[in-house]
């Protein structure tokens, strides 16, 4: 009997151990390190404790603020464009067309291949002379665009690349959500003579809302995590125009050798993500309640 009571712990122990050692401990360590003036050649014990200095210094640091601005801009445009296109396509293609399975399979490809490779492909396509975009533009008599060498275009270019890679994610999730909507509600709306637009606005979108919010949240979290694609395409340049926060963290750690500052920056990023998650959770609770009401009302009528 005693052995049976131990079983669950035996099953849990290895995973719990690894998560503790390689995930929770590092995060705790990072929080501690953010209060230190620490460079990579020192052991952590030798680093000087400086309190909140890293945090306050960052707030006054112009490049950190610029990088934060770039990150927010990038995340905002990427997520709104992807939501718009992804949900739009899902609503448009939500019908039994043959070949849908094949389309979904092909749509996964950009998400499956390495971000490094995605960056590589786009860097090649944006190349000033051999890239396909400028070649095509030149062929139809339009002047070359400085895709990666102008600060406005560089940000636009990384946004386009991210939209290419991640819109399918939103599309697949919204399509799944659409196909699991209660048939009865849609049926009722159709019998009442609702037009296609009305059905979308008043029935489909509100009912999809809980899924859309989670999808949006997942995408937003990932947008803050993007690093490799930008690293390969622009390495943050020109200037600081595409230096998103995670790139800045990794450069602060490896190039400027300021581990304490990098840790403080990581903490800011983590706090921001946590805030976002909490907000989305609260909002999704509210809209779930709303969706339930609509569903009930639709089923009663």
């Amino acid at each position: 009997m005693n052995g049976r009571r131990l079983t669950p712990y035996l099953f849990m122990a290895p995973a719990a151990f690894i998560l503790g050692v390689a995930l929770l401990y590092p995060i705790a360590y990072m929080i501690y390190a953010s209060f230190l003036d620490w460079n990579p050649s020192q052991r952590i014990g030798q680093a000087e404790f400086v309190g909140l200095r890293n945090y306050t210094w960052l707030l006054g640091d112009a490049s950190f603020r610029e990088s934060l601005g770039v990150t927010l801009k990038f995340a905002f445009f990427v997520v709104s464009l992807e939501m718009l296109i992804g949900v739009g396509l899902a609503l448009l293609l939500d019908r039994s067309i043959r070949g849908m399975t094949a389309l979904r399979t092909i749509f996964i490809l950009p998400m499956m291949i390495a971000p490094i490779v995605v960056g590589l492909i786009w860097r090649y396509m944006y190349h000033p002379t051999v890239g396909i975009f400028n070649k095509t533009l030149n062929a139809i008599g339009v002047e070359s665009v400085p895709w990666l060498s102008d600060s406005f275009w560089a940000l636009t270019s990384i946004i386009i690349a991210d939209v290419w890679q991640w819109t399918p994610f939103i599309f697949i999730l919204s399509l799944a959500a659409l196909q699991s909507l209660p048939r009865s509600a849609l049926e009722a709306a159709r019998i009442d003579g609702a037009t296609g637009w009305q059905q979308i606005w008043h029935i489909k979108l509100p009912l999809m809302m809980p899924v859309l919010i989670v999808t949006c949240l997942l995408r937003l979290i990932d947008a803050f995590k993007v690093l490799e694609v930008v690293l390969v395409m622009t390495n943050g340049g020109p200037g600081l125009s595409t230096e998103i926060l995670s790139l800045r963290i990794s450069r602060t750690a490896s190039e400027f050798r300021e581990l304490g500052v990098a840790a403080a920056m990581s903490n800011y990023l983590l706090l921001m993500l946590m805030l976002l998650t909490v907000l989305m959770f609260v909002y999704s609770r509210v809209s779930e309640a709303r969706a339930a009401r609509i569903r009930q009302a639709a089923e009663e009528s």
Partner: protein, 292 residues
């Protein structure tokens, strides 16, 4: 489009046209990489004859010269970097996947059958873990692995990170599959005298194979594609393919043919998984948001 939202009648050719456009947009860049990898640099640089060129395996031979059984004629000096990186990537990705799956399944099973925490707690934890960007782990993992564990530059060091990074997601996705295993089956096995480990390996595991496939693909993909932590932790001899790709990118004079061949080789396993197991991948992707 007011009336067409009726499902099942969408045989409109416009939709097929739209789908073709979407397929071209999704596949185009990837096909471009593959065709470039089959081109000589002369063809890459030339303005004309973009569609017509002699495909060549030279770039692949340059990249793989160390692993090939013959000496390609055009390679003067064979750089062993890539062959080594490919081996490292394979070992690291396969071992991390195997360990993550074993530990993850056990933990998920314990969580479902012995009811440690509610499903809500697990979902919340998974989401929290998903929130942590690899960049955030960079500083602490570098510090701890170098100074406390002495694991920098080793396979075990990076495998430990990848296992930890993937475990929350794997546990969470497998849970939803284990919940569906009828408990009566397990009880019947127990009646026949099977111990808890036998029940687990002989009854539960075979029934959750689709879940395992999804979890395996997701884990493998992360370990295979990851760059940042691999770059910080690994040394010359243990470097993975993504790290070598970034290292070979210089500001000017990029040998596009060779680098695209490297990129294509790195992209091959995920592409194969996609075509073999797209259903499982979609299940894994949608499970979180759609089922809740």
């Amino acid at each position: 489009m007011s009336r067409e939202t009726t499902q099942g009648t969408g045989a409109n050719p416009a939709f097929y046209a739209l789908m073709v456009v979407l397929v071209i947009m999704a596949m185009g860049p990837i096909m471009l990489m593959i065709t470039t990898s089959l081109k000589l640099n002369v063809d890459v640089m030339s303005d004309s004859a973009r569609l017509l060129f002699m495909p060549t395996m030279q770039n692949y031979e340059t990249v793989l010269c160390d692993v090939l059984w013959y000496d390609p004629a055009h390679v003067d000096y064979c750089d062993p970097t890539f062959g080594r990186a490919l081996k490292n990537s394979l070992i690291i990705a396969l071992v991390s996947t195997a360990i993550t799956l074993i530990l993850g399944t056990m933990a998920a099973y314990a969580l479902v059958r012995f009811r440690f925490f509610g499903r809500g707690t697990i979902s919340m934890t998974t989401l929290m873990m998903r929130m942590v960007p690899p960049a955030v782990l960079l500083v602490p993992v570098f510090g701890i692995w170098t100074f406390n564990f002495g694991l920098d530059g080793t396979y075990s060091g990076i495998i430990l990170v990848y296992v930890a990074m993937n475990l929350p997601f794997v546990i969470w996705i497998l849970q939803s599959f284990i919940v569906q295993v009828p408990i009566q089956l397990e009880e019947a096995a127990r009646m026949d005298g099977a111990g808890p480990f036998q029940v687990f390996f002989l009854v539960v595991i075979p029934l959750i194979k689709p879940g395992l496939a999804a979890a395996a693909i997701f884990t493998f993909r992360i370990a295979w594609n990851e760059f940042l932590l691999a770059n910080a932790l690994l040394d010359r001899n243990t470097r993975t393919v993504p790290v070598t790709i970034v290292n070979s990118l210089t500001e000017y004079d990029i040998d596009w043919g060779v680098i695209m061949a490297t990129g294509s080789l790195l992209a091959i396993p995920p592409i194969i998984f996609t075509f073999v197991a797209s259903k499982q991948i979609i299940t894994g992707m949608t499970a979180g948001a759609v089922k809740g």
